[in-house]
């Protein structure tokens, strides 16, 4: 299907960009591996969309496979936002600690 081909081209573009970023050392090995697995997984899901459709309907979902993937991705995004928020809070606390220590040291 043309939609699948377009999606795979887009994923190939992102993987290429990822490769260049790694080559220029803009991202670490862990980050590279995470996104590589992420995009490969996305490509796999697109290639096997028909099987996912089948699996999804067997699980009792009324929508198609791609719709369920969309719901899942929104849920995962929410989780990532939550994780980022926690990380952000920790950085804020660390920042305050540094500012406090400088204030007490430079008195």
């Amino acid at each position: 299907m043309p939609q699948q081909a377009i999606a795979l081209i887009i994923i190939a573009f992102f993987i290429a960009r990822l490769y260049w970023q790694k080559k220029k050392n803009h991202i670490g090995a862990n980050e590279f591996l995470f996104w590589l697995i992420f995009w490969l997984l996305a490509a796999g899901l697109i290639i096997f969309l028909k099987s996912i459709d089948k699996l999804v309907s067997e699980l009792g979902f009324s929508g198609s496979g791609i719709e369920v993937l969309l719901y899942l991705s929104v849920a995962i995004l929410f989780y990532f936002v939550f994780r980022l928020r926690l990380k952000f809070e920790k950085i804020e606390k660390d920042l305050t600690k540094i500012v406090k220590n400088i204030a007490l040291k430079d008195k």
């Binding site: 928020r85 926690l86 809070e89 804020e92 606390k93 500012v99 406090k100 204030a103 007490l104 430079d106």
Partner: protein, 222 residues
């Protein structure tokens, strides 16, 4: 007993000299924590005779109070007072707020704007009749804390109490957090009437919502 007065200040060059001058003779040391001001607050506080500490960037009132309190504990304070830099509180009330600690009747003393009529006559209408009763009801129902003025920023605590209380909130939510910590550590509490001169509304409704949001996030993070 050595009394230290901690004053967090952010861009308070208009008020800080007068506040330091008023308080200096009433306590053993005035500790002004300049919370990343872009004006002359730090220099004026220092020139006025206060011990001035500087946050290189703005971190919020709760963070500044923590810095000042830690400084006070490290420098031999027996009683630590938290005071505002905007001139809303009266230095006359310092003796009153430290008295229960000196007498051994309390470990933490809150200044209350509601214990006599002098204290709240100028409080904005919406704050007096909506926000404050709501805050009081939430504290009473959910946390079993019965204070007449839960959001008062004027408080005194013994050094021993200050060591036990550990507030993490950098922003305005520190007020509620200190209250919860005092309750958790079963510290002896007293309230004394204070007078407040309002220059502005203070904590807005949305500021109140931010406090609730900060406290909820802290519960999740911790």
């Amino acid at each position: 007993m050595k009394v230290f007065c901690v004053i967090p200040a952010f861009n308070e060059h208009k008020n800080i000299t007068a506040v330091v001058k008023e308080i200096k003779s009433l306590v053993d040391r005035v500790v002004v924590v300049d919370d990343g001001s872009t004006d002359q607050t730090y220099n004026l506080a220092k020139a006025g005779g206060a011990m001035a500490l500087k946050h290189i960037i703005n971190r919020g009132q709760g963070a500044a109070l923590r810095t000042g309190t830690e400084y006070s504990l490290a420098n031999g304070a027996d009683i630590i007072i938290h005071f505002d830099a905007d001139g809303q509180f009266s230095g006359q009330d310092i003796a009153k707020i430290t008295a229960p600690i000196k007498q051994g009747a309390a470990q933490v003393v809150y200044g209350s704007r509601f214990l006599d009529s002098r204290g709240n006559t100028a409080m904005p209408f919406f704050k007096k009749y909506f926000i404050m009763p709501l805050a009081k009801a939430v504290n009473r129902i959910f946390f079993q804390i019965n204070l007449t003025d839960p959001q008062s920023g004027f408080r005194a605590m013994s050094a021993e109490a200050a060591r036990q209380i550990s507030w993490q909130q950098d922003g305005m939510a520190h007020c509620s957090e200190i209250m919860f910590e005092v309750k958790k550590n079963k510290l002896q509490v007293a309230e004394v009437p204070i007078a407040v001169v309002y220059h502005n509304f203070g904590q807005s409704f949305f500021g109140g919502l931010k406090i609730i949001k900060d406290l909820l996030i802290a519960i999740i993070v911790n």
